[in-house]
Symmetry: C2
Subunit: 383 residues, 2 copies
Amino acid sequence: MSVTAAKGFRAAGVTAGLKPSGSPDVALVVNDGPTYDAAAVFTSNRVEAAPVTWSRQVLTDGRVDAVVLNSGGANAITGAQGFADTHATAERVAQVLGVSAGDVAVCSTGLIGELLPMPTLLAGVDEAATTLSPQGGSVAATAIMTTDTRSKQAVASGDGWTVGGMAKGAGMLAPALATMLVVITTDAQVPSQQLATALRAATALTFDRVDSDGCQSTNDTVLLMASGASGVAPDPQQFQDAVTEVCADLARQLIGDAEGAHHDIAIEVRSAATESDALEVGRAIARNNLFKCAIFGKDPNWGRVLAAVGTTSAAFDPHQLGVSINGVQVCRDGGVGDDRNLVDLEPRDVHLVVDLSAGEHTATIWTNDLTHDYVHENSAYST
Amino acid sequence: MSVTAAKGFRAAGVTAGLKPSGSPDVALVVNDGPTYDAAAVFTSNRVEAAPVTWSRQVLTDGRVDAVVLNSGGANAITGAQGFADTHATAERVAQVLGVSAGDVAVCSTGLIGELLPMPTLLAGVDEAATTLSPQGGSVAATAIMTTDTRSKQAVASGDGWTVGGMAKGAGMLAPALATMLVVITTDAQVPSQQLATALRAATALTFDRVDSDGCQSTNDTVLLMASGASGVAPDPQQFQDAVTEVCADLARQLIGDAEGAHHDIAIEVRSAATESDALEVGRAIARNNLFKCAIFGKDPNWGRVLAAVGTTSAAFDPHQLGVSINGVQVCRDGGVGDDRNLVDLEPRDVHLVVDLSAGEHTATIWTNDLTHDYVHENSAYST
């Protein structure tokens, strides 16, 4: 499963001791070739963590031999020492694997603004290298968890080739990217430029449309590595579809495990003049705390939806807006529609449809409700 | 006090029965002249309530003889019937006062997407008209409360003239405007154009910089009415200062009474390249749920502050950013600063300073923490 579903990859997950809980906290994923093509998408946050700065450099030549990931510390806003620590981590991986440090990507997640305990981390790297295995995908997926309650893995298959992936992320989920670390592997033969095209297209439709709490992280990384071990060069569209399928599966798992959430909400914006309008409206609703609290309270308070729509620059006439919640059209032509008491908000899945009556474009944003548990998780602990 | 502190105004507040609680819910403020100049600022939300649409029309000629305000229902997204109801309310006020309906402003606040019970409201208007009094400011301030726990009133004085005001608002507080109804009166002799200039300048520095929960309402109105009853034409700058003082006082009261808040947070952005940059950064922080939860938890989690800064387009170098919380500089030159454990977050007032090291402009945004009580208030009741 996971990153070792594709041939040509080994992985490991160990407990180095970065997390007080004693759970696994260092993961290693190694590409054994014969090809080493790679592509990545990083956070658009201008305050980016040291491992993001490092990995951007690694990816410039489209080759990655291995990626090391740690939970228990984000190594973000840690200055020159933080970058030196990331560099040292890549050097240690390179040394134990016999590769070049310039081909080792690094990902970190956890509290921002603290230096990593380097002896502990480097000992974890050494141990991970000794336990690398073609069955190591699942334990690697466990080692990158922070406030996640379960590990996230997905697999898709083509004609003789496979795409597999793992993800972590439960809070700080907002687009471009949703805050997360994701590693996707494939044994297809795909050059790095094609990997980049497929990955950008896949993330635009999946991770970029997840907006759990509107908060964008400093460490987001989605890495796609191809070993070529299947010996098959896939049809580009089929390959892109498979990568999108894995990303969509992982994105759904992220929303389903978002911190403290009681409802998973699909916000479908219909009849928009442009796709960009649909996305802007969807995101404005997804970030409206009053709407998110109402859904938690099982209150179909659709006025809060239109109050959010009204803050956007999308094309619409307020007198032609429509809203339906779980199939009940509570707002019609910008006025009161069917009885809001008919709406059943007991199920975890909520389907909100906003009709802008302005064109032919549709887009869906996924988010969660705002709950006591979210406030608790994000106030009681430093994460 | 309040809107009847200035000469030439009478006010009333009565219980019409719009609120299940039986608290006062209809207020009336009447200008007895000799002048009737007025100006107003309205929500920038494109989905605006019927009373906002109506009052915009009333204000076009710069004259307002009276304003009627109701809590217990926002009359927003109520279509043609909602607008007809607002019109009928203004007509009733005009009839009982012997003025023109075109000079009667209307404000409503409460649940969006429900029609008002008109016989109840109109009976309230009749009763309010019979109890108008030069001492009615305080009870009028009570009648516009929704989830407010206390009424908000303020007064400032010039040489022989007075400015007084009342406000309501406890949730849906976000700029342009912070969600609220505000009525300000003065007995100074000021033409409507000068009123508009003073009011726009005052709101830009006060209500527009309050961002409690990032949610913008459909009903925001700030109305300024001048009776000229003092016979004094004030110095324009002194008058603008007095209006700003009243607005700032009311804005502080709004933040101090925001739904479920445990901390009042002043976000001061220093050394910005432009004032607009400072405001953009301040608002990004004020809307970051993770930061707001951390403050609730008394956790000086400054990484969440810089993660929010990084999402803006403001000019800055990530390696030159500084953050201090309640006097402790926890981040220096984009890296770890003094020990975060030195920060005391027990007091209700929190002073966050973010230094962009990019110029000479400063601005402050006021917000609150995100608490269990906020989630409770906005999930357990329809408001």
